[in-house]
C-alpha cells in the first residue's frame, strides 16, 4: 500500500488529543465500585477527530490514518463515485479500519477493484459496498468510519459501525 507518512503524522497529532480525552473519561467510571451509579452511556463516546483535508486525498489512493486512537490504523479513500457511507461533496470519501476483523492481520488495498485483502487467510472486503465481506472468515463486515466533512474540507471521523478487532470497546 502506498503511504503518505507526512499527512498521516499530521492526522495522528490531531486525533491524539481526542483519544486522550476519551481514555480519561472511561476508567473514571470503572474506578468507582463503592458508589454504584449508572456507568455512563449505553454506547461509547466517539471522539471527533480531524483525519485529513479533502485536498490531501488523491483519487483511489489510500491515505493512512488512525481512528479512534493511534493503535487503530485505517485509511481514507476518495473513490471517485458516490458510495455507501460516502462523505464529502461527491459522497465518495470513505474510511475503514485496516485491521482484519477475522484475526487482526493488516489489510492491503487493491486499487484495481477497490477491495481490502488480508494476506493472513484471504478475506476480502469491498470499499464500494460499505466494507461488505466479498469472501472470507470474519463474522463482521469491515468496520467503517462515520465521516463528516466541514466547509473547509476537513474530514472528521466521528464513529464506527462495528467492533474493531482486538478490543472489546472501540474506545479504550
Amino acid at each position: 500500500m502506498k503511504r503518505c507518512n507526512k499527512l498521516a503524522e499530521v492526522g495522528r497529532r490531531q486525533f491524539l488529543t481526542g483519544a486522550v480525552i476519551a481514555a480519561a473519561a472511561m476508567p473514571a467510571v470503572a474506578l468507582l465500585p463503592e458508589k454504584a451509579r449508572a456507568a455512563g452511556s449505553a454506547r461509547v463516546e466517539y471522539p471527533s477527530n480531524r483525519l485529513a483535508n479533502i485536498a490531501d486525498l488523491k483519487p483511489n489512493e489510500p491515505l493512512e490514518v488512525s481512528y479512534p486512537d493511534e493503535d487503530a490504523p485505517g485509511v481514507l479513500l476518495k473513490l471517485g463515485k458516490k458510495v455507501s457511507g460516502g462523505a464529502g461533496p461527491d459522497g465518495d470519501i470513505v474510511g475503514f479500519t485496516t485491521i482484519c476483523p477475522h484475526k487482526g492481520f493488516p489489510l492491503s488495498y487493491n486499487a484495481s477493484d477497490n477491495s481490502f485483502n488480508c494476506q493472513g487467510h484471504y478475506s476480502r472486503f469491498d470499499a464500494e459496498s460499505g466494507g461488505q465481506e466479498i469472501w472470507g472468515h470474519a463474522t463482521q463486515n469491515l468496520p467503517q468510519y462515520t465521516l463528516r466533512v466541514d466547509d473547509k474540507g476537513d474530514i472528521y471521523a466521528e464513529g464506527l459501525d462495528e467492533l474493531l478487532y482486538g478490543r472489546l470497546s472501540n474506545v479504550l
Binding site: 476508567p27 470503572a30 454506547r43 461509547v44 466517539y46 493503535d71 487503530a72 455507501s84 457511507g85 485491521i99 476483523p101 477475522h102 484475526k103 487482526g104 492481520f105 492491503s108 488495498y109 487493491n110 486499487a111 484495481s112 477493484d113 477491495s115 485483502n117 488480508c118 494476506q119 493472513g120 487467510h121 484471504y122 478475506s123 476480502r124 469491498d126 464500494e128 459496498s129 460499505g130 466494507g131 461488505q132 465481506e133 466479498i134 469472501w135 472470507g136 472468515h137 470474519a138 463474522t139 463482521q140 463486515n141 469491515l142 468496520p143 467503517q144 464506527l160 459501525d161 462495528e162 467492533l163 478487532y165 482486538g166 478490543r167 472489546l168 470497546s169 472501540n170 474506545v171 479504550l172
Partner: protein, 820 residues
Amino acid sequence: MAYKRQIDRLPIIPAGAKKHNVVCHYCIVGCGYHAYTWPANKQGGTAPDQNAFAADLSKQQAPETTAWYSPSMYNIVKQDGEDVHIVIKPDHDCVVNSGLGSIRGARMAEMSYSEARSTQQQRLIRPMVWRYGQMQPTSWDDALDLVARVTAQVIKEQGEDGLFVSAFDHGGAGGGYENTWGTGKLYFGAMKIKNIRIHNRPAYNSEVHATRDMGVGELNNCYEDAELADTIVAVGTNALETQTNYFLNHWVPNLRGTSLDKKKKEIPDEPHEEGRIVIVDPRRTVTVNACETEAGKDRVMHLAINSGTDLALFNAWLTYIADQGWTDKDFIEKSTVDFDKAVTGNKTSLEEAAKITGLTVDQIKQSAAWIAEPKDGKRRRTMFSYEKGLIWGNDNYRTNAALVNVALATGNIGREGGGCVRMGGHQEGYVRPSDAHVGRPAAYVDKLLLEGKGGVHHIWACDHYKTTLNAHRFKQNYKKRTDLVKDAMSAVPWGDRTALVNAIMDAIHKGGLFSVDVDIVPTQIGQASHVWLPAATSGEMNLTSMNGERRMRLTERYMDPPGDALPDCLIAARIANNLERVIREGGDEKYADQFKGFDWKTDEDAFMDGYHANAGGGEFVTYERLRAMGTNGFQEPATDFKDGKIVGTKRLFTDGKFGAKDGKAHFMEAQWRGLQAPGKDEQKKKFKYLINNGRTNHIWQSAYLDQENELVMDRWPFPFIQINPDDMAELGVKEGDLVEVYNDDGSTQAMVYPTPTAKKGETFMDFANPTGVVGNVINDGVNELILPNYKQTWADIRKISDAPAVTRGVTFKSPEYSAG
C-alpha cells in the same frame, strides 16, 4: 449498505466464568471452541484480575490474540432457566484449528436461540399438530400419542415397510452418537425398517461404498498428514470454503513451507520440500487461488477436467504410474490383492484420457509424476482427498474405486504424509444396530414415496424439498399425498382420537401419507407435515461426534433447549415408549416387547446404551473421560484407558492389515463408461448450460439457521448462479438479475453472479438454498447403489426479473484474494 451491527463494545467475560468444552457443530472439521457463561447481572473488567484472560483489556490486543471475541461470538441465552451471557470462542489449544474460527463456526453464539436478543426465533419450541386447518401447539403426550397410534396402525396394515423414515446418520448438529443410536435403536433394533434414507440422498447407503468394499475405510489418516505430504491430491473438494480450518491450519503450512521442520523431524531419512498440490475440479475455486498464493503457480496444478470425467484421469494415472514402475511393489505384494487385474482392466492411455477429460497428455503425465515419481530413490508421499465433486458426481462407485487404486498402488495408505480420505461434510457420529436388512442396493425411498408407497413418514432433520434430486416432482407429489390427510384431519374433531385415527387411515388408504417432522426449525418439507416435534441441538444437550481424522470430543451442554424441545435420542425413546404402550393396548404383547429398553432419561443414558456398549473401543469411553480430554479428545478407535487418558489411534492401517475379510486391501476394476446415470446424456444434449452446484463460504448446509442471520442474508439474499460474462451477454442478463434455470425435470431460480473464471457454458449454483433449490432441475437418475448425481446437470437459463432492490447493496466482485 452492508449490514452492520452498530455494536461498539461487548460485555467482558469475568474471571471465574463457567467454561464448557465445545466442538463446532457444523462441518466435519470439528473446530475446538469454549463456551463461557456468566450471570446476566455480572460483568468482567479490563484489569487482568477482572477478566477470564488475565489480560489488560484496556489496550489494543495483538493479531491472533486469545483475548478477543467478535459480536457474533456473544449472546444471552437461558441456562437452567436463567438468562446468562454467553461467549463461544475458538480454542487456541485445540490441535484441529489452533484458535481459528470460520465464518460459520464463529457465529455459533449468534445462531443460538435467545429470547433476550431475539436470535433464531424460528426455532421450534413446542410440539405442533395439524388441527383446525393449521399447525397448532400441543403437548408431547398428545402429539406422541397420535404419532404412535397412526404408526402402529400403518404397521399393522402394511407391515414395517409401510413406515418410511428419513434420518440423519452423521455427527454434529442434527446427529451425534447419542442421536444416531436413539433413532437407530428404534428403527433397526425395535423394528427392521427397510424404507429409510439419509439426510442428503434418497436411500440408505454409503457415499463411499467402493473404498469400504476395497477394505479401506474412508477416514484413514490424520490432519497432520496434510502437513507431511510431498503432494496433496484434491479431487472435487473446495477445502478452503468447506473444510476451512483444516485447509488453513494443516494444508497451508505445507504449501507455505512452514511444516518443513516437522517433515524433517518426523520423517528424517528422506529429502523434503515445500508441498505441491494437484487439484481436480472443473471449476476454478478460491481453494485453487489460495494454493497458488501460498505455493506459487509452479507448485499447483489445477486440472480443470470436463465435468464428470475424473474416472478416466485416475485410470490413466494408474496405467502411467504402473508403466513407469513408480508403484510400491513391496506394499502391493504384502497388503493387497488384484493389482494386476485392476491395471489390466482399467488400462487407459494418456491420449484416451486426454480426449475424455479435456486435459493435455503433458498435464496428465506431470500430475502423475507429482503423485508418484520417486524423490532421490525414496517413495513420494501423496495424500489423496476427495469430496462431493466425486461423491455427488458421475459414476460414484467406480470413480471412488479408481482413486483408491492409485493410492494403494503408490503405497499411500497407513503411512505418514499419505491417506486416501473423503474430506467430509458433517462430522461423523454413527453407531446403530446392524442395517443389513436394508439390503444392497437399498430402497430408492424418494421414488417409492413419489409412487405412492408407504403410509407414514418419520423425518429427522431432513428436508427433501431442498436436498433431493427430482425435487420439483417430489414436492408436488408429497404435497398432494399429505394434503389428503390434512383435509381428512380437518373434518373430524381433535378430541375424538378414534375418529381422528380412522379418518387419517381412510386418507392413507386413498394414497395419503401421514408425515411427522422432527427438527429444530420449521422446514420446507415440514410445511406438508401433520406433526412437528421440536428437537434440541448441540450445546443444548451433551453431544459426542468425531471429525475427519476420527477425533472424538464431547460438546458439553451449555444452554437450555428452547421451550419444550428435547434431544433427538429422547424423542426416539419417547416414540418407542408410546409405540410400546399403544401396541400393548392393541393386544400384540410380543411386538410391544420389542420396544422395551428405551427408558433413557438423559443424553448420557443414550450414550452409554449406544456408543459405550456398541462402538469399537467404546468400553473405554465415558462422558467423564471425554470431559477431561477437552477439545483435543482422542482419535477413534479407542484402544485403552491409561494414566487418566483415553488412548486413541492416530492413523488406520499402519500395520498393512486392511478391512476386507482376508485382511488385504482389494484393487478394483473400474472401467470408464461415460455419463453413467440414466437421463444425463439426454439432458446434456438437449440443454445448453452445465448447472454445476455446491457450497459457498458464508452459508452452512441448507441455510436452515443462516436464513435467519442478517450477516449472511445481507451477503446472499438469493442463491447465486456463477455465469461467465460472455454467457451473460448472450442471455441478456446483468449482475443481480434473477434468472430461471429450467429443463424437462423442473425449474428453479437464482441470482446472476458474474464470474470471469467460469468456463463458457458452465455455471455453478448454490446447493440446497431455501429460495432456489437446484434439486428441482436434477433428474432422478442414480447409480447402481442409488447414489444421486447432483453435479452433472444441464438446463437452460432465462431472465425472470431485473435485479431486485436488495441486490444494490450486494458486492459482485471476485471472491479471489488479490493483494493487487
